[in-house]
């Protein structure tokens, strides 16, 4: 009788333990999955803020940089591409292109002392540069979150629960070739 009750208690502990462990894994996977979505949404907030600053920046530059139309147009089209991007991959490529165009603009601006001295331009440049640093930090955070998620769904014992939930690996925010390139500065003003 005693042995039967003890065996029953052992089975109860094992059963409850397995059930709680399953719930812990399930909830853990939900958390890591939502972390990735949240990390992406947090990047998106900053990207939108940067997109809002760009027309103001172009407005400030237009008066001074009459001969840099190509550079300014490249920024405008890169901004449009960013706003149309729907996937992480597309967004990653478009944002890389926009960041490179902005880098070029700031480098070219060095040759326009009047523009450099313009208070409005200076503020916008500082704001966009700060946003760039924040975006870089959040990208890194997004990649860390995605990496954790991708590892979790392949690890034992989480893989069994992840397969039941049909969880798929998520895409990392990769630096584009344009991001890695040096700033290409072309001076087009007449000699």
């Amino acid at each position: 009788m005693i042995i039967t009750i003890i065996v029953g208690a052992v089975i109860l502990f094992v059963g409850v333990g397995v059930l709680i462990y399953f719930v812990t894994i399930y909830n853990g996977l939900i958390v890591v999955s939502r972390n990735v979505d949240k990390a992406w949404a947090n990047i998106d907030v900053l990207l939108k803020q940067r997109h809002d600053e760009i027309p103001k920046l172009i407005g400030a530059c237009e008066g001074y940089m009459k001969y840099e139309r190509e550079t300014l147009e490249r920024i405008t089209s890169a901004r449009t591409a960013c706003m149309q991007a729907t996937t992480v991959g597309e967004s990653s490529r478009a944002e890389g292109s926009l960041a490179a165009s902005l880098k070029t603009l700031f480098a070219v601006a060095e040759n326009y002392p009047d523009l450099k001295a313009d208070q409005n331009f200076m503020q916008l440049q500082q704001r966009i540069s700060y946003l760039e640093s924040q975006i870089a930090d959040r990208r890194e955070f997004y990649n860390d979150s995605t990496n954790t998620y991708n590892i979790r769904i392949k690890e034992i014992p989480d893989v069994f629960v992840a397969n039941m939930m049909h969880m798929q690996p998520k895409e990392l925010f990769k630096a584009t070739e344009e991001d890695k390139k040096d700033v290409d500065v072309k001076f087009t003003f007449p000699q």
Partner: protein, 311 residues
């Protein structure tokens, strides 16, 4: 011996059965906390977003504070005083009789990309005891004597079976800390304004009118945020000689705290990997230890009941 008679052991067994079940569930709770820490990547202060975040950096003081027992200059402290109480002839236990903390004093965390205020109220502190002293027959060191005098603890309690145990945890300036908490917006006065407000409060507290001070302290306690309410401040402004800051001009600031609800909030001096490692062992020990304790206690209870029935 009386202690080992079966009636007593049966009571202990029932107690251990319950304790084992509690440990069993606590172990799983720790396991899920461990997973949360493990699965939350470290943010930078510059790129921080609202919600649950993990930060790692060095602690910096906003106001210099001294730990009450050891007198160490620190950015945060918690301390407890326990008294050993006998439970008859068969042992005793340590009972907490006093506990203090600097929960209301925020400090900065700097990770190289920026600094952010940490409001430690409600945080679980994961770090070893930094200072410990237990009274006995010897003469206690000066810091303990002063603390006991200030806290109204009688020196007679040191002797006999009522020894006191003092424990202190603290974070010193520039020490590495790892924090898992909630980033949220909080109404804060600018630093210089806050300093002015603190000085004003100190002046008010210096006033001889104990009734006024009592009202103040009650107000601070009710707010649970260590700051005097604006209404009280306005009333006091009329009587105080010191000009008070304009509290209408406060701005929201991003801070780290416990957040709304029962959020995880951990402050540790260990790096994440060490913290996770120790939590893994703790959860493992609690789950299996708790189950074994319960099963052993159950077996004993059943055995005793079986003999009883046979009698």
């Amino acid at each position: 011996m009386y202690f080992f008679n079966s009636g007593n052991l049966l009571i202990y067994a029932v107690f251990f059965l319950g304790a084992g079940v509690v440990f069993f569930f606590k172990g799983f709770k720790r396991l899920s906390e461990k997973r949360l820490i493990q699965d939350t990547p470290t943010s930078t202060v510059r790129g921080i977003a609202l919600g649950l975040v993990e930060l790692s950096g060095t602690a910096h003081e906003i106001k210099t504070i001294k730990s009450p027992i050891s007198g160490r200059e620190c950015v945060f402290f918690r301390c407890t005083v326990e008294r050993y109480e006998n439970s008859g002839r068969y042992g005793g236990k340590w009972v907490e009789i006093d506990g203090r903390s600097s929960d209301e004093s925020p400090f900065y965390l700097d990770d190289g990309t920026g600094k952010i205020k940490i409001f430690p109220r409600g945080a679980e502190i994961i770090m070893p005891v930094r200072y410990q002293y237990q009274t006995g027959l010897g003469i206690p060191p000066d810091n303990i004597s002063v603390f006991m005098k200030n806290s109204g603890l009688s020196s007679n309690e040191m002797f006999g079976n009522n020894s006191l145990r003092f424990k202190e945890w603290y974070i010193i300036p520039h020490e590495n800390v790892c924090i898992l908490g909630t980033a949220e917006q909080k109404n804060c006065l600018p630093e210089e304004q806050e300093e002015k407000l603190d000085k004003g409060i100190e002046n008010i507290k210096k006033e001889v009118d104990p009734q006024k001070e009592a009202i103040w302290m009650a107000e601070v306690g009710l707010n649970k945020n260590g700051m005097g309410s604006k209404d009280v401040l306005k009333t006091e402004q009329k009587t105080s000689n010191e000009p008070m800051p304009d509290t209408q001009n406060d701005a929201t600031e991003l801070i780290i705290g416990k957040g709304d609800g029962n959020q995880t909030f951990v402050i540790s001096d260990e790096i994440q990997s060490q913290m996770v490692k120790s939590m893994t062992w703790q959860s493992f020990a609690e789950v299996f230890g708790g189950a074994l304790l319960s099963l052993a206690s159950l077996a004993y209870i059943l055995y005793e009941l079986h003999i009883g029935i046979n009698f």
